[in-house]
C-alpha cells in the first residue's frame, strides 16, 4: 500500500470527524472573529495605520485561534485509547502526522476564507503592494503554524497541563515564522518594502520544520 493512500485514509477520517463534530472549526472561527472585531473597535485605526498593523493582528488572531484547534487534534485520538490502535497499526507514524497537518491546514484555511473578507471590511484594507502575493504568504504562514502546532500538541499529549503547555512551547518556536508572516503581509499591504526575503525565510522555515517533525514524530508517538 502506498504511503499516499495511508495519508489519505487518515486525512479522510479527520475530515469526517470534524464534519460531524465541528469541534475545531467552531472554536477557531469564533475566537478569530472576536480578536479581529475587538482589535478593530479598540484601536479604530486610520487606513494608513491599518496597513501597518493588519499583518500583526491577522497572524496573531490566526495563531491564537489555531492553538485552540491544535489542542484538540490529538485529544480526539486519546479518547477511548484510539491512539493505541494507531500505534499498533503497521503503517508509518509519519503518515498519521502528515494527515493531521493537512487536516489542520484545511481547517485554518477555511477560517481564513471566512475571516479574510471581514478583515478587509473592518480594517478598510487595500493593498498598495502586490496583493496576489498574499496567496503565497497565507498558505506558507498557515503551514508553519500547523506543522509546529501539530507536532508540539503531540509532544505535550501525555502531560497533565497540555492545553497550557502547547502555547508555551509553540509561541516561542513560532517567533521567526510569525515575524516572517507579519513582515511579508505588511510589505504587501503597505508596498513600502519587498516582502520577497521574508517569504523565502518563511518557505525555508516550513521546509526545515516539516522535515524535522516528520522525522521525529515516530519517537514522539511512541514515547512513554
Amino acid at each position: 500500500m502506498s504511503y499516499a493512500r495511508i495519508v489519505w485514509a487518515h486525512l479522510q477520517k479527520d475530515l469526517r470527524l470534524e464534519w460531524r463534530s465541528k469541534d475545531a472549526i467552531n472554536g477557531m472561527l469564533f475566537f478569530s472573529l472576536l480578536v479581529v472585531v475587538l482589535f478593530s473597535f479598540a484601536f479604530d485605526p486610520t487606513m494608513a495605520v491599518s496597513r501597518q498593523i493588519a499583518g500583526g493582528i491577522l497572524w496573531v488572531a490566526l495563531l491564537f485561534a489555531s492553538t485552540t484547534a491544535l489542542n484538540q487534534t490529538w485529544t480526539r485520538e486519546l479518547r477511548h485509547q484510539v491512539l493505541d490502535a494507531q500505534r499498533m497499526a503497521p503503517s508509518p507514524a509519519s503518515a498519521l502526522f502528515l494527515a493531521k497537518v493537512l487536516a489542520n491546514f484545511l481547517f485554518v484555511t477555511m477560517i481564513q476564507v471566512v475571516l479574510g473578507p471581514l478583515f478587509i471590511i473592518f480594517y478598510n484594507l487595500h493593498a498598495l503592494g502586490q496583493g496576489w502575493l498574499m496567496a503565497l504568504v497565507l498558505p506558507l504562514g498557515t503551514l508553519a503554524l500547523v506543522v509546529n502546532g501539530t507536532f508540539f500538541a503531540a509532544l505535550s499529549l501525555r502531560t497533565r497541563n497540555r492545553e497550557m503547555l502547547l502555547p508555551l512551547i509553540l509561541f516561542p518556536v513560532s517567533i521567526p515564522a510569525l515575524l516572517a508572516m507579519v513582515q511579508s503581509t505588511t510589505g504587501i499591504l503597505t508596498g513600502e518594502f519587498d516582502p520577497g526575503l521574508w517569504m523565502r525565510m518563511l518557505a525555508g522555515y516550513d521546509i526545515i520544520f516539516l522535515t524535522l517533525c516528520l522525522l521525529l514524530f515516530e519517537t514522539i508517538l511512541n514515547a512513554e
Binding site: M1, H10, K13, R16, R20, Q81, V82, A85, R87, M88
Partner: protein, 237 residues
C-alpha cells in the same frame, strides 16, 4: 503429543513506573494455539503485561519474544490488542471505524483468510448497515465492535484486556462464541478478566498474577481440543 511452539516467551521482564514495579522479573512461556485467561486482583500487572506484549510499552528490563522475534514492530500486523477502552471513534459508525482501521494495514502483511469490515461485524453479531455512531452504542455493542476491529486482520495472537467488563451476558456470550472459534482455528489468546467463570469455556490455562508476578499457570485438559496435556506449572517469576 509434543508441546506446541511458544507464541510468547518472557524472560525476566520487569516494568517500572518510577519506584513502582508493575511487573517483577516475569519469566513465562505461552504456547501457540492456546487460550490463556489471566486472573488477578487490580494492580497485579495484568494490563501492563498485555501492553508490553502489544509493544505499547517497553519493558524496563528483560526480553519479550513474540511469534519468534524480539522485534515486536515486525509482527504488529499479526497481533490484535483490545484495551480497556473501545479504541474506536465515537463520531463514526462501526463500519466506518473498521474500514478506516483496515486501510492502515498493508495488504501483503495480512493472512489470506482475513475478514472484511462487514464480515467482521457480522461475526460479532453486529449489523454492518447500522448507521448509528459508536458513541451511541451500548457498552456491549461497543465492546463487540471493538472486538470486530481486532479480529478483522485475523491476528495469530489476540491480547484482550478485560473484554467482558461492563458487558451484558448476551454480548459476553456472543464474544465468547467468536473467541472460541478463534481458539479452535489455532489462534493464541491472552485474556485478562475478573470473571473466571465467564471465561472458563474458552480457557486452556488459568494464569494468576499477583503483585507484578505470575504466581501460577494451571493448564486443563480440554475434550474439544483432542489432545493434550494436563499440567500445572510452578511459577517461574
Amino acid at each position: 503429543m509434543p508441546p506446541a511452539a511458544n507464541a510468547i516467551e518472557l524472560h525476566e521482564v520487569s516494568k517500572l513506573y518510577g519506584a513502582f514495579a508493575a511487573l517483577r522479573k516475569v519469566t513465562a512461556e505461552f504456547r501457540a494455539g492456546l487460550s490463556y485467561v489471566i486472573l488477578g486482583p487490580n494492580g497485579a500487572g495484568k494490563s501492563t503485561l498485555l501492553r508490553n506484549l502489544a509493544g505499547l510499552t517497553r519493558p524496563s528490563f528483560g526480553t519479550v519474544t513474540l511469534l519468534g522475534t524480539v522485534e515486536i514492530a515486525a509482527v504488529r500486523s499479526r497481533i490484535g490488542y483490545l484495551g480497556h477502552d473501545s479504541m474506536l471513534y465515537d463520531e463514526l459508525t462501526a463500519l466506518e471505524n473498521l474500514r478506516y482501521s483496515a486501510r492502515l494495514y498493508e495488504e501483503e502483511s495480512l493472512p489470506a483468510g482475513r475478514w472484511t469490515p462487514e464480515q467482521s461485524l457480522e461475526v460479532v453479531g453486529l449489523d454492518p448497515g447500522l448507521d448509528r455512531p459508536v458513541g451511541k452504542f451500548s457498552q456491549g455493542m461497543r465492546q463487540r465492535a471493538s472486538l470486530a476491529r481486532v479480529l478483522m486482520a485475523r491476528p495469530e495472537l489476540l491480547l484482550l484486556d478485560e473484554p467482558f467488563s461492563n458487558v451484558d451476558l448476551a454480548s459476553s456470550a456472543q464474544m465468547l462464541r467468536v473467541l472460541n472459534q478463534m481458539r479452535a482455528a489455532g489462534n493464541t489468546i491472552l485474556l485478562t478478566t475478573h470473571q473466571p467463570d465467564l471465561a472458563r469455556p474458552i480457557a486452556d490455562c488459568f494464569c494468576t498474577m499477583q503483585e507484578g508476578q505470575i504466581v501460577s499457570m494451571e493448564y486443563f485438559e480440554r475434550a474439544d481440543r483432542g489432545a493434550a496435556f494436563h499440567a500445572s506449572e510452578e511459577p517461574r517469576a
